[in-house]
Amino acid sequence: MAAPLPWLKPAVLAGSLLPLLEMLISGLRGTLGPNAIEEVLNRLGLIALVLLLGSLTLTPLHLLFGWRWPARIRRWVGNLAFTYVLLHFLTYAVLDQSLAVDAILEDITQRPFILFGFAAFLLLIPLAATSTDAMVKRLGYVRWKRLHRLVYLAAGLGALHYFLRVKADLSQPLFYATLLAALFAIRLVDAAKKRRARREREAAKAG
């Protein structure tokens, strides 16, 4: 039997790239609003955060409902999130700052919200670089998995980046931060359950 849901990955890929197409068309038609650079920067950043949290939602979905499809698109969603993070950074560095290195360095060192966003971007680079099957094999699954736990740190920094960016209404960043905390809690509970089960098994064996 062929792999189930062969269309799932292409659909997630196509769907995740649609906003880029929409932004491109809007840009060409001049309908991105009076401050198009800021608009693109904000949209790319938000989509990056949503996709990053989306990639972290997949394992809990498996844990909660026993579905098997989430695991198959997890790395894809992670890579798509990184694509948006990269585009977000490039929009900031090239379009917004015109590659003014001193201004960018000043931003990173002086402004915590930019520092946290930049740190998240840096953390995601090794994860994106090791996202191929060959790299999983080369690192060994246990080590690969340990490395990829960094994604939680990166997502946390991403949420913090958003939180500190907002001027007065914190409801949106708080929503994403809460979601992230909930996802993390589901995994902690699951890990604790597994640990207990293992201990009981070992105790039974010893007895």
Binding site: L5, G15, S16, L18, P34, N35, E38, V50, R111, R165
Partner: protein, 332 residues
């Protein structure tokens, strides 16, 4: 024999394997389209929340007569700026007016709920004549001038806007402050029906702002009732707003219903919300960074590259003297 339909060519005959899997194929196609649309549509909708609305066509701006043109008595040459004006559509769809929504496009979308007439301005505090003034009475006192000012937002973007209004100094003189009045405070309308953003406590409503008396009396300080030759649109702070071109935009309080003279520095909304980010003075100053963004440069709306920000937004020659004895790093 010519009567029977021709057999289709071999290439057009569906292979048996595919024919048998057609249901699976249709399901797959539907799944693909559904998931693509859901993921794409969801991301687009989330990321476009609050984006500026499509620029409206405006009579009198895009050609044709303007229904709400103001009669302008003068264009004093000392209050003009020789720089291209920001497009009307940009100045009226890219606004910070949290009482009408938090995103830049919200005020233009939600502005219809504000009713700029009838409108009363309460005058009290350190004045010889506390009073309630009907706006139209007040407007009858002053000929309208057009002044083109740079507008620099604390978020590091800027515009060039032709305002229509009258000097605040002329109004304050008529309101007869006492000798104890050292500051003047302003308040925005408090009415969640008209300003639905006030239903949420993101800021301490009503919005209040204030100026030192000498700042308020400075000839550059303007009470605006219009822009681009026409009545102020609601999203720009109708019917009466403050314009202080050497200060960050948030000092320019909108939809004013109260003017109060005080002896001590009045509390101001953004300063109460985040005192380390927004000072009482809020003079445009490229040397004093906001904790979350540099103030050294700005993006002029309509331009691609950032440009350097000027001290006092380019009005230093006129206003720097007001602050000769003030440590501007401390009193930002």
């Amino acid at each position: 024999m010519g009567l029977l339909p021709k057999e289709p060519p071999a290439g057009e005959i569906t292979p048996e394997a595919l024919y048998l899997r057609r249901r699976e194929f249709i399901r797959g196609a539907a799944g693909f389209v559904g998931v693509t649309a859901a993921v794409g549509g969801g991301l687009i909708a989330l990321s476009r929340r609050g984006s500026p609305p499509a620029a409206p066509e405006v009579a009198g701006i895009d050609g044709g007569p303007s229904p709400d043109a103001l009669s302008i008595a003068s264009r004093p040459p000392q209050f003009q700026v020789d720089e291209p004006h920001t497009e009307y559509a940009a100045a009226t769809t890219y606004n910070n007016f949290y009482e009408l929504g938090l995103d830049k496009g919200d005020p233009a979308r939600n502005g219809h709920s504000l009713r700029p007439r009838p409108w009363t301005v309460q005058v009290d505090g350190e004045t010889h004549r506390p009073q309630s003034l009907d706006l139209d009475t007040l407007l009858g006192w002053f000929p309208l001038e057009e002044r083109v000012y740079r507008m620099r937002c604390v978020e590091a973007w800027s515009m060039v806007i032709p305002w229509v209004g009258f000097p605040l100094a002329a109004l304050l003189r008529r309101l007869e402050p006492t000798s104890r009045a050292r500051y003047v405070a302003f308040e925005t309308l408090l009415d969640p029906e008209q300003l639905p953003g006030q239903r949420r406590g993101v800021l301490d409503w009503p919005y209040t702002e204030g100026l030192r008396m000498d700042e308020a009396m400075h000839p550059l300080t303007l009470m605006a009732v219009g822009l681009y030759g026409r009545t102020l649109p609601n999203q720009n702070g109708a019917p009466l707003r403050l314009v202080v071109p050497w200060k960050y935009g948030f000092k320019g309080i909108k939809s004013i219903v109260r003017i109060r003279f005080t002896e001590t520095e009045p509390p101001t909304t953004w300063n109460l919300s985040a005192p380390n980010e927004y000072g009482f003075y809020a003079n445009v100053n490229p040397q004093v960074d906001h904790p979350r963004w540099s103030q050294a440069t700005e993006r002029r709306i309509g331009e691609l590259r950032r440009r350097p920000t000027l001290p006092f937004n380019g009005y230093g020659e006129q206003v720097a003297g007001l602050y000769r004895d003030l440590d501007l790093g401390k009193f930002f």
